[in-house]
Subunit: 126 residues, 4 copies
């Protein structure tokens, strides 16, 4: 078992491989700065350009949000939550930071394993 | 083990009991209608008026979104995600409905057990 | 969304209903007494007489072990863990009790919802 | 966020480091061969020689069993399941293999992150 890491798909030629990498990769969408002790929304979305199937035998079962070595939140899904249609799993977690964040997301596809996002740094100010 | 059900706190006199019920109850926030096959955002938020602790020995460990008898999504948390300060766990799940929804949410507090929301009906149109 | 409760199937006439209830019900198997502060094995097994499918669109997604209002452990599964054949989900959790236990188990079937076992009392001695 | 991998602690001099690595590492205990289509018990146990705390701010929150890139089962815990005493998280998953297995286990400590076991191969015969 190994972790798949995101690769910038603009560096990849083959269309099928771009699709494969993009649709499995979790992306973190959030502001670059946060206020200490205040609610901060972090969206984890699968795929930037390409949708992923939501089939019974092939779906995204979980996504996780991590800060450095700490798991902040995990969302589990069952097949059908996206209507059994190709789409983008997307979940918004709200966290309350107390110091600078180094966020990464993980996503698990029941056919193609575990995928890790690039790290996103968030500056937390008083 | 029993499920705690939401009770309208305006019917309750004692302040401590209002607080206890409200801060443990998951509330569903979403539109009343959705388009079939399109993304539909559903927010599950703990507490309407009163915040819940995020202490190591007392925190909200999971919230779930159900449609009738089907679990659509579960979000797990570890203590500290809300900065170890009283607050409102809040997560936005995106689902893709194919027919009318009857949504309920569940929330689990590590000290005070499992809580079920009122049911929310969503009409799904073509 | 409602919780299905176990009913003694010897009181039920119709074979299909016996099967339906039994195969969805979690059963707790453990000793009646435990030593305080020592490891204590608790098995949660689905179905006593009838197996449950492990199909992609119909499987047991989680089982939980509770002590009174506290969730001790949850096991999540993906379809195929039982080889896509009818069988009995079975997991052994090891806990360390410090006082008398009132255990219940929950199980979630992706087609037929959430099921709660009868309560099992365990006396914990020094 | 990075995955910590098991290192044979007999190759390590410092006692504190042996303890740190061992108590966080999940170990897979199972037979070396299995029968196709029959139940096969796999134990995931944290630590071989050194126990891990079960404190509110420092505990093992989940263990997972993987076969190659497929997650077979995840067990989640809340602090206190091991009586708030140092010990070994231990869970027995029952799976039904249909072909040779390459098992790995993962464990997540709320203070020290995610740990991956060595791979264990199981021959599956008719």
């Amino acid at each position: 078992m190994k972790i798949n890491r995101y690769v910038d798909i603009s560096t990849i030629d083959r269309e099928a491989k771009k699709d494969y990498i993009d649709r499995h990769s979790p992306f973190i969408h959030c502001d670059k700065t946060a206020k200490k002790g205040e609610r901060f929304a972090v969206t984890v979305k699968l795929g930037d350009e390409y949708p992923h199937p939501d089939d019974f035998d092939h779906y995204i079962e979980y996504v996780q949000l991590w800060n450095r070595e700490a798991m902040l939140a995990t969302a589990h899904f069952t097949p059908g939550t996206l209507g059994n249609m190709p789409g983008h799993v997307e979940v918004v977690f709200n966290i309350v930071p107390t110091k600078d964040l180094k966020l990464t997301a993980m996503a698990y596809c029941t056919k193609h394993g575990l995928w890790q996002s690039d790290e996103v740094e968030v500056e937390v100010t008083e």
